[in-house]
Amino acid sequence: MKTNDVILQTTSKVVFFIIILFAIHLFFAGHYHPGGGFVGGLMTSGALVLLLLAFDIKTVAKGFPIDYKILIGIGLLFAIGTAAGALVFNVPFFTHVFGDVYLPIFGETSLHTAMLFDLGVYLVVIGVTMTIIQTIGESE
C-alpha cells in the first residue's frame, strides 16, 4: 500500500534542525548547568530517529554517509585522548585545564578541556544509540 507522508516528511525536515539546535544547546549548557555530552548525544540521535521514521534507512544513509560504529571509535579516542593528555605533562591522569579566553564574536568565554572529553561522550552516545536502533529497527 502506497501511503502519503507529505505532512510528516515536511515537518520532520524543519523539526530536525530545531532538535539539533536544542541538542547543541544542551551540549554546551552542560558546562555549568544540567546537560552535557550524554543528553546532547541522545537528543541528536532522537533527531536522526525522526528522520528515519519519516524517510527510510537508505535515504538517511545518503544524507548522512556515516558508519555509526566508526563514530564510536572516534568518540572513544577523543575521550581517551583528552584524559591521556595529562600523561604528556606528567600531571595525574584526567587532569583538565581551563581558562578565560577572549573570542571575536562571543566575547569573554571560558574554555575547558573537559569539553573535548564531553565531545567524545557525545559522539559515542550517538554511535551507540544509532547502532542499536538501526539493528533492532530494521525489518529484514
Binding site: 572513544l76 579516542l77 581517551i80 606528567n90 595525574p92 591522569f93 587532569t95
Partner: protein, 493 residues
Amino acid sequence: MINLLVLPLLIPLVTAALLIFLPKSIRVQRAVSVVSAIGTLAASIVLLLTVKDNGIQTVNVGSWDAPFGITLVSDTLSALLVTTSSLITLSVILYSFRSIGEARERFYYYPIVQFLLVGVNGAFTTGDIFNLFVFFEVMLMASYVLIVIGGTKIQLRESIKYILVNVISSALFVIAVAMLYSVVGSLNMADISQRIAQIGSLPILTVIAVLFLIVFGLKGAIFPLYFWLPGSYYAPPVPVLALFGSLLTKVGVYSILRSYSLFFYHDQAFTHELLGILAIITIIVGCIGAIAYWDVKKIIIYNIIIAVGVLTFGISVATEESYMGTVFYTIHDMIVKAALFLLIGVMIKITGTNDLRKMGGLMKKYPLLGWTFLVAAFALAGIPPLSGFVGKLLIVRGGLAEGAYVGSLIVLLSSLVVLYSVIKIFMNGFWKAPKDYPGEENQPVLSLWAPGALLVLASILYGVGAEVMYPIISQATDALVHPAIYIDAVLKE
C-alpha cells in the same frame, strides 16, 4: 612518571578504540592486539617492580584530592593481579588466532577482549568503591558480548540467564554502596576503612557486609549463588571460557578479599564465620560436580568453584598466614585454570567432542600435549614443588592455627578430589586405546598448544621460584593485615 599505574588500563582501552576502526582486516587486528597485550604486560611488570621498590603507588584522578575524587591505588596485591591478568589475556589472544573462527574475529572479538582487560585491570586497581562498580560494569558489558558473540543456540539461551543474574547483582551492588555511603559518608576505600574504625561495629555495618558478600559472591560464585556459573560458562567457546574462568571469578574473590580485610574486619565472629561456612559448602558442591561429570569442560568449570571455595576459606580465617596463602593461591589458580582451559580446548579441537568417554589415546600422537596437561593437572592439585602447593599449605596451616579444623581438612580432601578429576581427564583422554578422529590432521595442534604451554611454564616458574616470590607476596599481605599501610598511602597523612 606518576601515571604509571594508569598504563595497564590505558593501553588496552586505546587499543580497543583503535580496533573498532578496522573490523574487516583480521591480520591487522591480530597484530595490534598482540603488540598491545605485550605492552600491557610490560607496563604491569614495570609497575610491579616499582611498587615493590617504592611502596604503594596512587593517582588522584583529575587532581582531585584523595577522599573526594577518585583514587587509583596500586599496592603489591593489585599489581600482582594486574600482571597475571595481562599475561593470561596475552596467551588467550594468541590461542584465539587459530580457534575462535573468522566470523567472530570480524565481529569485534579482539576489541571486546581488550575492553574486558580494561574492566578487570581497573577493578584490581581502583581505590574507590563506586569506581569499582563502574569497572565491574565495563567488565560485565564486555563479557555479555563475549558470551553471545557467534550466536549459537546454547549461547543465546545461556546469555539471557547470565545477563539477568548480573543485572540483578549490579543493582544490588549499587544498593550496597549507597547503604555504605549513608552510614560512613565516603566512597574512597581508604577513607571508608578509617571511618568504620572510628564508629566501631554498628549492626548495620554487618548487614552491609553480608550484602557485599552477596554481590561479590554472585560474581565470584560462592555456594548459594554459584548456580548460574556451570551453565553460562559452558556456552561460549574455549578461549572466552578461559578468560571468564580465570579472570571474572577472581575479580569477585579479590573484591571480597579487599572489602573483608579493609572494611569489615570488626565483627569477624559473624561475617568471617559466615564466609567460612559458605566457603566449605562451596568446596563440597564443587567437588561433587567435578567428580560427577564426564564432560571435560564441565569438570574444569566445577574446579573453578572448588578454587573459589578454597580462596574464600583463606579469606575467612583472616590471619597473616592464610591471607598470604590466599594471595599465593589466587595467582596460581588464575594461571593454571587458564592453562587447563586452553589445553582441554586443544583436546576438544582434536577429538571434536567434549565427552571423555569418546576420547582416548591422545598420548600416542600428541605426547607434548599430554605431558603439559599432566604438569598443569598436578599444579592444580597442589603437588610440590608446583605452584598450587605453597598456597594451599599456607591456607591450611593458617586454618589449623586458628582452630578451623573442619575447613582445613576439607581443603586438604578437596585436593584429592581435584587430583582425581583431572587425572580422570588424563587417563581417559590420553591413555586408553587410540581412536581415529575425523579431521584431526587439519587441526593446528602445535600453535594451539603453545599459549597453554606458555602459561604452564609460568606456573612452573611461579611454583619453583616461590622463594623469589615470597617477599613480594608477603609485602602484598602486609597491606591486607594492616589496613593502616593502605590508608596512609592513599590519604598521605
